[in-house]
């Protein structure tokens, strides 16, 4: 069971209210407001250039918004930047380390930067599968190993909130899945995770709640499944049959909104959680013989398309 389901009283650990940030003439972020609750994985999702990194770096205290209020763990990340940085862990997009720094040296250095006692570095490296790479130079690590090292550096001070910016960009699917497991582990240890991604699959599978951002503005915020229910309630069943009476019967099913057919291949669209059951019942009652049966559920990708009128990849 997910941690968020157990929480009765949710405490916001990050509060962002009406922030705006411009670079010259370009408005990077405008009127962005949201809250991140304790113990959840919160995702800021949107295409590249939507304002994800700018928003995240304002919260981390690396940038100052032109206006608006940000609170992290009850602190002001601008005026109390060092206090905030003591209690957060950060992984930056496209950051590097010194080419020839060894893995253990980086972890050891980072551990020395914080006032509170760092967690056991060897244990951390072991958890992240970096023990046999502890003497390797940063430049000789693979993409996945570098990201795992950055996660280690983000966790070394046992932070209350962990920020992960485009953590799995450029990784192969296998490394990506391994990283997802690590992020879930972080949440399950009671930390709050704030992440950005332009990968909708990642957001859907990893995040407890997501905020969709485009052109510097938040479009909607909710749990992924609720966003899908709200914006894309239609689901589609694809089946193949040569039964000539089928089409008429499918149209009479409750909740069905459209039926199309080409060469015995039917697309049945409709709403409601019972749709699939209803279709199966119809098939069985009428002894309709099918040779293929698939359900297509909408995903965040479809939500994004619906909300913005274009695909996130465009």
């Amino acid at each position: 069971m997910a941690v968020t389901d157990l929480q009765i009283i949710k405490r916001p650990v990050i509060q962002v209210s009406g922030i705006r940030k411009t670079y010259g003439q370009t408005v990077a972020v405008d009127e962005v407001s949201f809250e991140v609750n304790e113990g959840e994985i919160f995702g800021l999702i949107g295409p590249n250039g939507a304002g994800k990194t700018t928003t995240m770096e304002c919260i981390e205290g690396l940038r100052t918004p032109d206006r608006g209020i940000i609170s992290v763990l009850g602190l002001d990340p601008f005026r109390q930047v060092y206090k905030v940085q003591e209690r957060i862990g950060v992984q930056l997009q496209q950051a590097q380390l010194q080419k020839r720094i060894k893995v253990w040296e980086a972890v050891d250095l980072w551990a020395s930067l914080y006032r509170k006692k760092a967690i056991d570095a060897e244990h951390l490296l072991n958890q992240l599968g970096l023990t046999d790479k502890r003497n390797a130079w940063f430049m000789n690590l693979s993409g996945g190993q570098k990201q795992r090292l950055f996660i280690a550096l983000a966790l070394i001070n046992d932070p209350d909130v962990v920020f992960l910016d485009e953590l799995t960009t450029g990784l192969d699917p296998q490394a990506r899945r391994a990283i997802w497991d690590l992020v879930r582990d972080i949440r399950d240890r009671g930390k709050t995770v704030f992440l950005t991604t332009h990968l909708m699959e990642e957001a859907e599978r990893l995040c407890d709640r997501v905020a969709i951002i485009e052109h510097g503005r938040i479009i909607d915020i909710d749990k992924p499944e609720r966003l899908i229910d709200r914006h894309c309630p239609e689901r589609t069943i694809v089946l193949t049959t040569d039964d000539t009476t089928a089409e008429q019967r499918f149209r009479s099913i409750r909740g069905v909104t459209a039926v199309s057919c080409t060469d015995g291949r039917f697309n049945i669209s409709g709403r409601g959680d019972d749709l699939v059951t209803e279709v199966i019942q119809c098939l069985s009652e009428n002894r309709i013989r099918v040779t293929d049966f698939r359900t297509i559920l909408p995903n965040l990708e479809d939500v994004f398309l619906k909300l913005t009128g274009h695909s996130i990849r465009e």
Binding site: E60, L62, Y82, Q85, E86, V90, L92, Q94, A95, Q96, L97, Q98, K99, R100, I101, E105, D108, L109, W110, S112, L113, Y114, R115, W137
Partner: protein, 250 residues
């Protein structure tokens, strides 16, 4: 407080520097070799005939070599800061409670340490191969070189603050710093320069560094060089203040 992480970062940066393929050789061995070769050549050619020649070997060569060490340290700092900025390393460090000035201080300490180590090697090598500077006050000279380097490092920071990309950092730094040697009084006395160049020489920090180093090498007392020290301090303060204004972390 501000020192948290300083020594660890400094030590790691020294180790990283020595791991560079040309790091130790370029910064330490090369200046010493150049010094030895030049010294031997100059010594053999000039010693019997002219007095000026032996002054060159006794005083100016060590000063020139020291200045070269200082400039190479500064150029290496400029390059490192640019690379660190371009690679997001500075930004990553800044996202920790590490103070910005701690990061920069660590790099200054690394460069000063290397400068001192190179100087020590040079003196040792010089003693072994020909009798130069035997009676020079080495401790004072080292301090003078460190002060000069510190001051020139602030110019390096200013360059690193302004130059946009790592590719241009080193060449631009070299173009700014090396010509200063020509006007520093090492080769041509300041008084013998045309008025315009003399005026330029008077505002270049290297002129004061050379005057200081030469004096200390010759056994001057520190109080005779308060003007040089003041000039180097002014350069440091002005450049540091300017780079604090224009420095970019990313």
């Amino acid at each position: 407080m501000m020192l948290r992480g300083l020594w660890k970062l400094t030590w790691i940066e020294i180790k990283i520097f020595l791991r560079e393929p040309l790091g130790a050789f370029g910064a330490i061995a090369l200046p010493v070799l150049v010094f030895l070769v030049l010294g031997r050549v100059a010594n053999r050619k000039l010693e019997p005939s002219s007095h000026a020649g032996s002054t060159f070997v006794r005083v100016d060569l060590p000063v020139l070599a020291s200045i070269l060490i200082a400039i190479s340290a500064v150029l290496s700092l400029v390059t490192i800061i640019s690379i660190y900025r371009e690679g997001g390393i500075l930004k990553r460090l800044r996202a920790t409670p590490l103070r910005p000035q701690t990061i920069l201080t660590a790099h200054v300490i690394v460069k000063l340490t290397l400068t001192a180590a190179t100087l020590a090697l040079m003196v040792l090598a010089g003693r072994r191969y020909y009798p130069v500077g035997l009676h020079a006050p080495l401790f004072s000279f080292t301090i003078a070189l460190l002060i000069s380097t510190w001051s020139i490092l602030s110019i390096g920071f200013l360059i690193a603050s302004i130059v946009p990309t790592a590719r241009f950092a080193q060449p631009i730094g070299a173009i700014i710093l090396y010509p200063m040697i020509a006007l520093s009084g090492l080769f041509v006395p300041i008084e013998a320069l045309p008025p315009v160049l003399r005026a330029v020489a008077r505002v270049l920090p290297l002129t004061y560094a050379v005057h200081l180093l030469r004096g200390i090498w010759n056994g001057d007392v520190w109080s005779a060089h308060l003007g040089d020290l003041a000039a180097l301090a002014v350069v440091f303060v002005v450049c540091t203040a300017l780079s604090a204004k224009v420095f970019r972390w990313e």
